[in-house]
């Protein structure tokens, strides 16, 4: 049922029930009785604030984040979770936080490998690889 109202919801709220009588009364300025439907449901997209945290420690067998990476996890317009950082410009996507984070860690490793490979015969990329190695370490190779 559409009430035609725009609802600004508390952040953590997914849905709320509204008493049509009280809504109508508020807009009319006097008590209004609404027959039939006593309750209406307003639905709206779930909005979540981006969460920021620091990633540090092992991310996969043989791989370590040795310097804290500031990572943001948020939902995109399609409803997917997106994990990204500003230091290496890597991202991961998933249907939930866990799969997005797993995708992000995989992307970090792939990024390291690509920049490492490029740095072997390309001086401008060697400096970039040193920057990447500040954050990501490969061991037990």
């Amino acid at each position: 049922m559409s009430t035609g109202l725009t609802v600004v919801a508390p952040h953590e709220t997914y849905s709320r029930h509204f008493d049509l009588s009280s809504i109508a009364s508020k807009f009319c300025g006097f008590s209004v009785s609404v027959e039939g439907q006593k309750m209406a449901t307003a639905s709206f997209p779930v909005v979540e604030r981006p969460e920021v945290f620091l990633l540090l420690g092992p991310i996969a067998p043989g791989w370590l984040v040795g310097e804290p990476l500031r990572v943001v996890i948020e939902r995109d317009e399609a409803g997917d979770y997106v994990v990204s950082d500003s230091e290496l410009a890597v991202y991961g996507v998933g249907a939930d936080r866990i799969s997005a984070m797993a995708d992000y860690k995989q992307s970090l490793i792939e990024y390291y490998e690509i920049i490492e490979e490029e740095s072997r015969d390309h001086a401008p990329t060697a400096a970039l690889f040193r920057h990447v190695r500040r954050f990501i370490t490969r061991f037990n190779r």
């Binding site: 410009a89 991202y91 996507v93 992307s107």
Partner: protein
């Protein structure tokens, strides 16, 4: 209008000279571009999705050192390879001092 990942991949390869990087996983397709005197520019697309959300467009644009608007112009054919090279050399976004 959502950007189709296959369109973005086709454009950055055919028009802007990005090359596919060696495949490292079935989930991600990486592309790289070398421009004289600059670090390798790299980006990737997730093959678990068909379209890019505006947020992903913005992240990929950042990887390419351009604004999201510029990236969309690249994909929609209103920017040429020379425009892109001039952009990343003269006014990269973010600047090259921000390393990645």
């Amino acid at each position: 209008m959502l950007t189709k990942i296959r369109d973005a991949e086709r454009q950055i390869q055919n028009k802007f000279g990005f090359e596919p990087a060696a495949e490292r996983s079935s989930d991600h397709k990486w592309y790289k571009l070398r421009l004289e005197g600059l670090p390798t520019i790299s980006t990737f697309f997730s093959h678990s999705k068909k379209d890019l959300s505006p947020k992903l467009e913005a992240i990929i644009a950042r990887q390419l050192r351009v604004s999201r608007t510029f990236f969309l112009d690249m994909i929609r054919c209103t920017k040429a390879a020379q425009d892109y090279e001039r952009q990343v050399r003269e006014t990269p976004d973010p600047p090259w001092g921000v390393r990645f």
